[in-house]
Each structure stands twice: as C-alpha cells, then as structure tokens.
Amino acid sequence: MTGAFDIILCLMILGAAGIALFVRDALAAIAFFIAFGNLLGLAWLGLDAVNVALAEIALGAGVTGVLLILARARLLALGDDATCADTSAWLRAGALAACAGFVLLLAAAVLSIPPESGLDRAVAPLMPGLGIENRVTGVLLAFRAYDTLLESFVLLGALVAVWSLAPAGVWPGRPADLGVADVPMRRVARSFGRFLLPVALVMAAYLVWAGSDVPGGAFQAGTVLAGGLMVSAIGGAIGLPRSDLPGLRVALVLGPLVFLLIGLAGMGFGGFLVYPEGSAKAAILAIEYSLFLSIGATLALLVAGPNVIGWPDPAGGTDRHSDC
C-alpha cells in the first residue's frame, strides 16, 4: 500500500472520528462512527492484520452500529430527543488534557518496546502438527484453546445476563420486535433483509469453511450470520424466537458444549484439551462449525435484548428463526 493512500486513510479516520464526536445529531454521529469503524478496518488490512480487520468491521462497525441505532430508536420512542447534552467547556478541556496525557504516556511506553515479534516464531514450528494453515485459528483453537473455551462461555453468559433483565411476567417470552414502524421504510427493510439473509448465510459459511487456512473463522462468521439475522429481523422477514424454544437452546449451547466435550475427550489422550495425534484438524473443525452457529444465534439475540413480550402472544406464526 502506498504512502499517499496511508496518509489519506489516516486523515479520513481522524476526520470521521472528529465528526462523530462533534456532530450534535445522534443519527449522524452513529453514521460517522460506523464509517470510522470501516476505515479502521481498512487500516488493519493495510497492516496485514486481516483477522483483526474482519473483526473490527463486523463487530466494531457492524454490530455496534446496529446496537447504537436500535438504542436511539428506543430512546426516541421513550420521548428522549437523543441529542447530546451540553457539557461545560472546562470539563471538555480537562477530559481532553487527561486523554492526551495518557495517550502520550502510552505511546512512549509502546515505542520503548523493541519491535520484534517472538510469539510468531513460537507459533510457526507448531503449525504443521495441526494440519491447518491459519495461524490465528491455530492460536485460538489449539495453543490458547482454553481461553477461547472460557470466552465462549462468557458470550453465552452475557446472553443469560441480558435475559435475566426481563421484567416480571414475560418469561418465557420473546424480545421486542426489531422491525421499523414506518411502513414504507419497513417495506424497504423487508426486501433488503430477504435479499441479505441468504447472502449473509453463504458468506458466513464460506468464512467458517475457509477459516482453517485463510483469514476467517468461527467468530467472524458468527458475526456475519448474526448481522444477516438482525437485518432480516429489522425488516420483519423473520420473527424473533421465544427464549425457551428447545431448538434455540440447543443452538445456543451447541458450540460451548461441543468444545467442552472435545476438551474432556482429550483427557483420554493425555489431558484436558489435548487433541489426539493426527485428528487435530477434525477436532478444530468440529469446534469451529458448532461455535459458528452458537455465536451467530447468541449475538443476534444479545442485540435483540431481553424479553419484553409474554408468551400468550397473539402474533405467533413466524417461528422460523429456530436456529437456522
């Protein structure tokens, strides 16, 4: 990548960040925040960190952006005008000074670190034993599989935590309808969602399939799947499921459960999370595919929020989103 492109990209990132901070209209701020996330993803691409770029665009820009938009919609529905409150100039100046000082300190610390990556050298000789090419997948699902296992439980726990916020009397029920209220907009969103869901499915399946050898993998693919589900739900193309649907529960638990069982099976081969000789790739793939489903379903439901509609619910019908 050329220097000119890098400079323009950096300026655009700073500009998008600045506008997102200073613009008064919340929707505009969100739009620039999403643009900022996408530009940041490009910067990661420029640094050859493809996996980080995918995660930044999918999670940092995509899912967070959807969350912000939904939060704004709910605030508007509650009668809040969703514009920024005025803060005093002194507070702003103080925050600016504190942040700048901290950034300088951090930059000094980072620059004082000698620029060599020793971990890459440690990873490279171990990769052939796994039968996969993507080092990030190797780290996530072999060398540091224990971290990833616990992390998958954190994600599931987050959904349980969100569910625990449901007001009394609506459990087991379903989350609030994500659909937009405005009729013409709803029509656009619906046809867009219908179009996007299959595309997202194909893309997600590709990402998880390719993840063992080229950048991709369960987390990115799960996010894309969740994105597709959310857009479809916003358009009303699919409904949100009841939280006690057995199929849904299975889909949510599948990834962590398969991961844990494979880990436990490893105890027969010498210890927890030890993959048997020669079948490391099979084990990793099994974990990846099941995690992909669970992450997709969990993220989509996390964005949808806690149950607010009790189950004696006249709507019925659109229970298609059982688990994909």
Binding site: A145, G157, S164, W171, V250
Partner: protein
C-alpha cells in the same frame, strides 16, 4: 479442574429444572476441591500440552487450593440455600431461571482464575466473574448494577491494556516466566500500574469502592453473599500474582505502601461508614469495604517480613475467613429481613426469640469478622498483627486493632437490636436448609481458627516467597 462447572453451565441452559442441579454439583465440587488440596505440591498442568511461552499453565498453589475450597463451600451452601429459598423477586420467572447458570458461570470463572498463572487467561476469568456478578447485582437494583457494570468495564479495559503492553514487551503473559525476565522499564511500570488500577476497582479497595455498597446491599441475599465473598476476591488474587509472583523485582517496598495505605484507610472508612448505616444490608456491605482493606494492608507486611510465611498465611486465612463469614452473614441477614418488619436495624427487634438459629449464625459470622478468638478471622488478623509488630509497622498494627474495635461496635449494634423487644415477626421461622446454610458457613469460619496450622501449611504450598521462579514444571 474447572471443567465440571462449564459442563453444568451448559447442562443448565438446556434444562428447565436447572435449580435441582445444585444437588449433585455441590458435593462434586467439594470433592474436587478436596482432591485439589491433596495433590502433590509440585502438581501443574499445561493445558493441551502446549509449552509455555504460548500455552497456559494451571497450577494449584496454596492460594489456589484455599480459595477453590472456600469457593466450593460458599457457592455450595449458597446454592442449597437458594434452592430452599428462591432468590428472585416474587413472580419473576426470568430471574428464577437465569440465576442458576449465572452462579455456575461465577463458580467456573472464580476457580479458573484461582488456578491459572496466565495473565490473559486471568482476564477472561475476570470477565466471567464480573459478568455474572453484574447480572446477579441487577436482580436487586438495575441502577446499582449498571453503575457497577460501567466501573467494572473501565477496570477490565485498564487490565487488558496492561496485558497487551506486557505481551509486546516480553512476548509472554505467564506469571512464572515474567518473574524471570521482568525489568523495571517504562512499559512494564505502566502495565503494572494500569493492571493494578483496574484490579483495585474490581476488588473495591477504598477509594474505588463506590460501586460496592449499593450493588451488594440491593441484590438478593444469595447474590450479595456471592458478590461479597467471591467476586471481589478474584481481583485480590490477581494482584497477589502480579505483585508477588510476576514483578517482585519491579515493585519496591515503597510501592507496596501504595496498596497498604489505601488498605488501612479502607479499614477505617469502611468501619465508620458501617457504623453510620441504618439498614442492615448496607452495614454488612460497608463491612466488606473494611475487610477488603485488611487484605491490601497485608501487602507491605508480607513483603517486609524477614520470614513472610506468617503474614502470608495471615492474609490468606483472613481472605478465606471473610469469604465464609461474609457469605453466612448475608444469608442470615436475608432471612432476618424477610422475617422482620422492615429493613432498618431498629426493625430487627424480637428476632432473637423467633429465629434463634439465624441470629446465632449472624453472631458467629460477626465474631469471625471482628477477629475474636477462636475464629478463623482471629487467626488471620493475629498473624498479620504479629508481622506488623515484628516489623515495627505500628501504624498498620494500630489500624488493625482499631478496625477490630469498630467492627465490634457496628456488629453489636445490629445484634443488640435483634435481642431488643419488638413486634412479632412477619414470617414464622422455618428450619431446614435455608437456616442451616448460614449456620454451617459461620461455624466453619469459627472452626477454621482451630485448624490454623494445617491451613498455614496449605497456604505455603508453592508460595512465591518460598522458591522464587521455581514453579515451572
């Protein structure tokens, strides 16, 4: 080791009758904790057999053995209590169903955190515990939980930033390796500072305790018991790993007073605040602020002692005794408040006659928290006091004695209210598991005092001061 928990978490989500799973879970976990306490002293396991700069080392040292065992006792007892006395707000089925997966998440996170020597792995476990803690706190007061959540997020991010700096600097985040290569340069100091600040928020050390009293006081009794007993302890254990295992060379004796000083202030401030509270649970919550202070006050005492084994054991015994006693106290307080006319201390009148067992549990827990003999709290505080006097740290010694006196004042205020004549309680006292659970926990906190030397030896297993850097397998 942490596996059965994860298994139960998964099983829970699938099953609707999740609450009954505590019946097999409690004895299974107690058994595993016992097994862990008995494994050979040099036991360690590299997860998946991946070697160290990359892999994760699990190692049951004295700290881990004590904390895992205490966690199993506390969560087991709290779980059985919650089985008999549902924790949710009346009629809230969502809370009734999600309470159980959350406590298993807390359990798994705490155990995994106590066992690992890997700083990034510790971050993940910290997230597990914080997430479960926030959700449990939200069952009482959404506002307090939201505040807790925001503060905990800042703490997590600070910690994560520190971990990232260390990866860049040393290419490893394993405590045992870091202790061999750590140097006091800018990146290391900044990382240590960031991580310490983040963890102090999580451990609620004064002056970063602001989130704790509202969150703990408002949550349902079993949730408060878990929050006070376990959630704040993980931050404390990670700080132990950082300051005594990874960076003893970097952190000087003076730097340790940065922890000890606020610790001493926390003892005083928490005690004074507890004396001023009108509500029973707020009193117990502020007592946690004070008791956490003792843990950090112990840091300079351990580092300064010529033979740190006494102060180290004192610190660990105090931590365990606080876990047991505080869990017992919150459970007892929950039962007392359900029976009493209101949630103020003045409303407790007459309870000593109507629910003697529960008031006894509260009293026994108070005995341990005040540090009266023969309790576990006494042994812990006595060892710390001994170390302080031996080092001439009379300021710390004075704070400890004063803290004990203040604790006596505020706990006796609550207890004497129970013995005062009062209106007949709203609910008749019931016997069974819900009464037995706090009594057993409080009894254990007392009995710990008699097992002092065995626990002393247990805490010394693979302790960092015994053989620096010798823990690698």
């Amino acid at each position: 080791m942490a596996v059965p928990l994860g298994f139960m978490l998964a099983a829970l989500l699938a099953g609707r009758a999740a609450r009954w799973l505590i019946l097999p879970a409690a004895p299974a976990m107690a058994g595993l904790a016992l097994w862990l306490a008995l494994v050979p002293a040099d036991a360690a396991y590299l997860v998946g057999h991946w070697d160290l700069p990359l892999g994760i080392l699990l190692r049951p040292d004295g700290v881990a053995r004590l904390m895992v065992a205490a966690t199993a006792l506390v969560i087991g007892a709290v779980g059985l209590h919650a089985l008999a006395d549902p924790p949710e707000k009346a009629g809230n089925a969502a809370q009734a169903e999600t309470f159980w997966p959350l406590i298993y998440l807390l359990w798994a996170g705490a155990n995994a955190g106590f066992l690992t020597t890997d700083l990034f792995n510790l971050y993940v476990t910290l997230e597990m515990v914080s997430l479960a803690a926030v959700a449990l706190a939200a069952m009482g007061s959404l506002e307090a939980a939201l505040r807790y959540f925001m503060i905990a997020l800042v703490g997590s991010l600070a910690y994560l930033l520190g971990v990232a700096l260390l990866v860049g600097r040393y290419n490893t985040v394993d405590v045992t390796l870091l202790s061999q290569v750590a140097q006091p340069d800018l990146a290391t100091m900044l990382a240590l500072g960031l991580m310490t600040a983040g963890l102090l928020i999580k451990a609620a050390l004064f002056p970063m305790h602001g989130w704790l009293p509202p969150a703990h006081a408002a949550a349902p009794a079993p949730a408060s018991a878990l929050l006070s007993a376990i959630a704040v302890k993980l931050g404390f254990v990670i700080l132990l790993r950082l300051w005594f295992e990874a960076f003893p060379a970097v952190s000087g004796q003076t730097a340790l007073h940065v922890l000890g000083g606020p610790g001493a202030l926390a003892v005083i401030y928490g005690s004074v605040q507890a004396m001023r509270q009108q509500r029973l649970k707020a009193l117990v919550a502020y007592s946690t602020v004070a008791q956490v202070g003792y843990l950090f006050l112990a840091f300079p005492l351990v580092a300064g002692a010529p033979d740190p084994s006494g102060a180290w054991a004192g610190m660990m015994l105090h931590a365990v005794a606080h876990m047991l006693a505080k869990a017992a106290m919150f459970l007892a307080a929950g039962l007392m408040l359900k029976a009493a006319a209101g949630d103020r201390i003045g409303d407790l009148g007459g309870l000593a006659q109507s629910m003697p067992m529960t008031v006894t549990a509260f009293g026994l827990a108070a005995v341990s928290l005040m540090g009266l003999p023969p309790s576990g709290g006494f042994t812990g505080k006595f060892l710390l006091l001994n170390a302080a006097i031996a080092q001439g740290a009379f300021l710390y010694a004075g704070v400890m004695i004063l803290g004990g006196l203040l604790a006596a004042v505020y706990f006796f205020r609550a207890l004497s209210a129970c013995f005062a004549a009062g209106p007949a309680p709203r609910a008749p006292a019931t016997l069974g598991v819900r009464t037995a659970a706090p009594l057993v926990l409080a009894g254990l906190a007392i009995v710990m005092g008699f097992g002092g030397s065995a626990l002393h030896n247990l805490s010394a297993i693979a302790a960092p001061w015994a053989a620096p850097g010798a823990a690698a397998p």
